[in-house]
Amino acid sequence: MKVSSIFAAAGTLLISATMAFAQCPPKGAKELTGAGGTFIYPLMSKWSQEYEKACGVKVNYQSIGSGGGIAQLQKMTVDFGESDAIMTEQQKKEAQGGPIIHVPLVAGAVAIAVNLPGVKEGELKLTPDVLADIYLKKIKNWDDPRIKKLNPGVKLPNQDIAVVHRSDGSGTTFIFTNYLSKVSSEWKDKVGSATSVNWPGDVGGKGNEGVANSVKQIPGGIGYVELAYVMQNKMPYALLRNKSGKYMKPTLESAAAAADVANLPDNMEVMITDSANPNAYPIVGFTWLLVYANQKNEAKADATVNFAWWMIHNGQKYAASLDYAELKGAAVKKAAALLKQIKANDAIVLK
């Protein structure tokens, strides 16, 4: 008992020692430039502010979209990229600086917002196949027997379903369509998954605010929105059945649980939608930091890797207050292992 607690204390000390050591880049690049998705932008601003306070390294992040971030990284005009989607093989091939490592930063959840007069908040239950068929326009009315069967006791109106989607290319759409492709083979064949797709139906809104407003204004509306947006605007959402058969609320905890599964691959290039964790909300995705595996500029590589290390450890405490789901358990360990592989001129950066 005593021995084990001493071991534990020593372990904690060791960990905190390595963390403290790794917090600030020793080699002195004082400025970093990154570009990528808009989803991470509020948190990235907070991080760069805090990291400048802690280590004096100024991080300049341009939220130009995941596609733009990837393009900038491919041309090596930025020190790191950021993306809500995994780079395709073609995109990896076009990267001028060699292999790229995907380091997950946080997870984001996509909530299903609904506008059903007479139905209370969090009362509506949906299954993956019903959700897919609603978006495929096969289920057209809230009165449909398949929805009724899932919601005994809920008074569903005889109301046309107005399906709302994002009209601008976005990581949110990517995560959502990735989920639908996993749970519905028909969706996979007919529509597929990308940052924007050929939607079978109805209305496109610009940004989270566009989708949210259309859902709010159209009785019978259903739309997918970032979890943060739903929480901040107190929008009614639907419960969604996960892989283990539990109906899950979209919350930061259930989103974080989605990433806490045993079988994550070592390279972390994985979509964690439809997670096997019994407490997970199913529409969740990572957002990744993209860095070259072997970099030329040692000072920059040092600063980038240390900043990344700081983000996935110390930085996580800022995530929840800005409505992002923290990395947990296995995900942090694997992300840290990835950072330890990054080299500058063939020498490992983090020692």
């Binding site: 130009i64 979209g65 995941s66 596609g67 733009g68 990837i70 989607a85 395709t88 073609q90 995109q91 046309d160 107005a162 009209s167 601008d168 290319g169 976005s170 990581g171 529509v191 597929g192 998954s193 990308a194 940052t195 924007s196 797709v197 050929n198 939607w199 109805d202 209305v203 496109g204 809104g205 610009k206 605010e209 566009g210 407003n213 259309s214 204004q217 159209i218 019978g220």
Partner: protein, 335 residues
């Protein structure tokens, strides 16, 4: 004086090579160095505009080349926009853009020209700025502000109107839709109309103000009513300018991006009624460009830009032709 001019001209000619200032020959008064410099400066500026337009066209063709090779002219009649299957066609957005702009003109032209007439002919001089100023102020509002106002305020109102129209005139094909979304063709058109009214009004007013007072007074002296004076004298006198004002408004309507994106509904299906959600070309480019993830996708978006450029050119040519017809050939448009 003449000799001086020749010397200047010769030395300048040597200095500037092949550029021959032909216009100066027509007007022997314009001979001193300052005038020459001014002439050359304006020439440079004029050519730079043409060169910029050509560069723009060239760059659009270069950027869209991959898509042009892949889809050719079928792009213009294709009705599928599927980034996953890598199939791109832009007919629904072309129609969406043109229909919204046309309906916007339908709303905006009577209101703008009417209010310009009111300001010019009916309002006492000291009162004019009080009415004109708010209209001009509208022209300066950024389109994102219009868009947000449209999304939060206008769309719910339009939705109420749509519900009423559908309940009472649902038999009319234009008012028939699968559901009433609020966002869509009608909202987009009204939004555009509100945005182009200030431009058309301001220009029309300035044009109507140039109608000589004597002409109108002449009509009144002959026993005409004020209505007749406006209808038979002021309007014919200024019709060319008014067409120009409308074309400028149309130009803005076709190119408008942010506000229509927010209220248009942005669907890639062909429209059947005024209530259908629809995309427009400029908003499509703006919406998808940042997340276009492979080169054919980017190229297709630039191709949409090229088509939009083409449409703008065709419209301005039509406007020139119309002006030429109206002036019965007196204004040599293509000189």
């Amino acid at each position: 004086m003449n000799g001086d001019a020749e010397i200047t001209e010769r030395s300048l000619g040597k200095f500037l090579g092949a550029i021959s200032p032909r216009a100066v020959h027509h007007d022997t008064r314009v001979v001193n160095f300052g005038d020459r410099l001014f002439y050359l400066a304006t020439q440079c500026v004029a050519f730079s505009v043409i060169i910029i337009a050509l560069l723009l066209f060239g760059e659009l063709v270069r950027g869209s080349w991959e898509s042009i090779q892949q889809f050719g002219l079928k792009f213009l009649v294709g009705t599928t926009w599927d980034p996953v299957a890598r199939v791109f066609g832009t007919l629904p957005t072309i129609i969406g853009t043109l229909v919204k702009a046309a309906i916007a003109l339908l709303f905006a032209v009577p209101i703008s020209i009417g209010s310009a007439m009111f300001i010019t002919f009916y309002v006492p001089k000291w009162f004019r700025p009080i009415i004109s100023y708010p209209i001009e102020l509208l022209a300066g509002i950024p389109s994102i502000v219009f868009g947000l106002w449209g999304l939060f305020v206008m769309v719910p109102i339009i939705r109420t109107v749509q519900i009423w129209l559908k309940a009472n005139f649902g038999w009319f094909p234009l008012f028939d839709g699968p559901a009433v979304y609020g966002v869509g063709v009608l909202s987009g058109s009204v939004m555009l109309a509100i945005m182009i009214i200030p431009i058309i009004t301001a220009i029309s007013r300035d044009i109507l103000l140039t109608v000589p007072r004597s002409q109108i007074e002449g009509m009144l002296a002959l026993g005409g009513t004020k209505w007749e004076a406006i209808w038979k004298v002021a309007l014919p006198y200024s019709r060319i300018g008014l067409v120009g004002a409308v074309v400028l408004g149309l130009g803005r309507a076709i190119g408008e991006t942010m506000a229509v994106t927010m209220v248009g509904g942005n669907s890639f299906d062909l429209i059947h009624s005024l209530f259908d959600p629809v995309h427009s070309m400029a908003s499509q480019i703006a919406s998808e460009f940042t997340e276009a993830t492979y080169s054919l996708y980017v190229s297709s978006l630039i191709y949409v830009g090229l088509v939009l450029f083409g449409i703008t050119v065709v419209i301005s040519l039509c406007a020139q032709l119309l002006i030429w017809r109206l002036s019965k050939g007196k204004v040599a448009v293509f000189e």
